[in-house]
Subunit: 152 residues, 2 copies
């Protein structure tokens, strides 16, 4: 034991590092699938929100609403959405009622892309057995609780 306790500073004991490492590892695991779709990881998350929104809400989301869902600000989303628009997946338009708002709509191609995801994702999940999937489900719920705790 040294003068002061350094166990609390060991990398392997740091939840922060594990989260950071695991997050990047999962992004790496998604890479082959996302390359197939021509999307980056963040772009994929944006598309997930737009696909989901389309099925659940009558109105298209604004950039602000999207940002609240993903916890990202306009500094990140504005250029990202411009790229998705360039790619022909998304349309951005100013609201008539309040010209500050940018509403986001899926293009036909953007909607069509959803159909390609499920089979690719099934393929991605193939490498895991039931045990793994159970563990991952527990992990997801645990992360939910942490997120709730941190956003208080």
């Amino acid at each position: 034991m040294s003068t002061f306790d350094t166990a609390g500073l060991q990398l392997d004991n740091q939840l922060c590092f594990k989260l950071y490492a695991a997050s990047r590892a999962v992004i790496r695991a998604y890479k082959p699938m996302l390359d197939g779709l021509g999307l980056t990881y963040s772009q994929y998350l944006v598309m997930l929100v737009l696909w989901e929104w389309q099925e659940r809400a009558p109105e298209q989301p604004t950039l602000k609403a999207l940002g609240q869902r993903l916890q990202l600000d306009s500094g990140t989303l504005t250029p990202l959405l411009k790229r998705l628009e360039q790619m022909g997946l998304v349309q951005r338009r100013r609201a008539q009622v309040d010209e500050r708002e940018v509403h986001l709509a899926l293009s036909e191609a953007g909607r069509a892309l959803q159909g390609q995801v499920l089979p690719l994702k099934a393929q991605l999940l193939c490498q895991f057995d039931d045990q793994d999937l159970l563990e991952m489900e527990g992990l997801r719920r645990s992360l939910d609780r942490l997120l709730a705790r941190l956003s208080e």
Copy 2:
């Protein structure tokens, strides 16, 4: 139920998003402490490795060894380490034996900084109760298993 099952594409069901969101939330939680130290999050992780290495190994690590520990490549680490060197916390020197290798040493200031971290981290942990800490420990172990599974 729509034509095909989209539950597997709901954002809230995506482990990948939870990990990504939780990782960034934890980084946000560290921000006040790291601002006090004058470090970014990645710089902090590098310092953790160097502090730990100093106590455990006779030799200073190379950039490559550091990268293996953090799962980061020279494209990320080279500029980051140059910044730490500019800040006077780290020294970079080419190995005599093999001039390709860059060895990393802590400066006096770099070593001294370690002393400031533990109290700040204790303060950071104050906001959590025993229940939370237990949950976080379980989460860490669960992330370990996921990381092991992904790096096979």
